[in-house]
């Protein structure tokens, strides 16, 4: 009887452990992608040249993360992660545009090679 109780308990513990593993590893791909893009943006051009756009993207990513923590892999979580990813790409595009415009300006004003 005691053995049955123990094995049931160990089964329950194992199920709980597996469930915990499943919830930490099964992050939706789109959220994972947005997190990676965010890490790249923080250490790249957007942090320097498009901080406002980066901040807006990170706010949306934070909402996606919160949804994931509270409710798991929901459609809202995926939608928010999708929007965050787009906003992170936008921050990168804005930063690149600023750089290119600066290069264009400096090339126009400089005499250039003879």
């Amino acid at each position: 009887m005691k053995t049955t109780h123990l094995s049931l308990l160990s089964l329950a513990l194992m199920a709980g452990f597996l469930n915990a593993c499943a919830t930490t590893t099964n992050v939706p791909g789109v959220l994972e992608l947005a997190r990676l893009s965010d890490a790249a943006a923080r250490s790249g051009l957007p942090a320097k040249f498009a901080p406002r756009e980066l901040s807006a993207a990170e706010q949306t990513l934070e909402r996606a993360n919160q949804e994931w923590v509270r409710k798991g892999d929901t459609e809202t979580c995926r939608d928010l992660a999708y929007i965050a990813e787009n906003r992170l790409e936008l921050a990168t595009a804005v930063a690149q545009t600023k750089l290119d415009r600066a290069a264009h300006g400096s090339n126009e004003t400089s005499p250039g090679p003879l």
Binding site: E75, T76, D79, Y82, I83, N86, R87, E89, L90, A93, V94, Q96, T97, D100, R101, A103, H104, N107, E108, G112
Partner: protein, 151 residues
């Protein structure tokens, strides 16, 4: 007299039932937030003025569908806006999220088009103008549209 009152009562209950059913059916659809719809329409106009549709794809800037990433995001935006309208008509609350997704795609499309233009400007000023293909390149400082198809 009593019979007539019963008839009136029955007719009243019947009409109330009809009104009830109609109002339930009417509530089946939801309205998308007007401000966000207006914002999407305004961005769509900006995308047209910037010439997102005509941004050429090159080796470095080609999306999965073989078009420029800017054009692909424009297509995605339009598709998702259409889905948002369908969902709203069906009373699905996800309609608002689909509109937000569409808006983010549209904003990105415009940003990518401006980036392509600035990049080509910078390349030209460095003496490395992009090859002129189906599209004619115009300077970012030129009047909109930035990218125009050669007629």
């Amino acid at each position: 007299m009593i019979l007539q009152r019963d008839k009136v009562l029955k007719a009243l209950i019947g009409s109330l039932a009809v009104v009830g059913v109609a109002s339930v059916l009417g509530c089946a659809s939801i309205q998308l937030p007007p401000n966000e719809v207006a914002s999407f329409d305004a961005s769509l106009l900006t995308a047209k003025q910037v010439g997102v549709e005509h941004v050429p794809s090159d080796r470095a800037h080609r999306g999965g569908l073989g078009m420029s990433p800017a054009k692909e995001h424009l297509i995605l935006a339009n598709d998702q806006a259409a889905v948002a309208k369908e969902l709203a008509a069906a009373g699905d609350r996800r309609a608002e999220f689909f509109l937000a997704r569409a808006q983010s795609d549209l904003d990105l499309a415009v940003a990518l088009a401006l980036q392509a233009s600035a990049h080509a400007d910078a390349a030209c000023s460095a003496g490395l103008c992009p090859p002129i293909g189906r599209y004619e390149f115009q300077s970012a400082s030129a009047a909109a549209p930035i990218w125009t198809a050669i007629r």
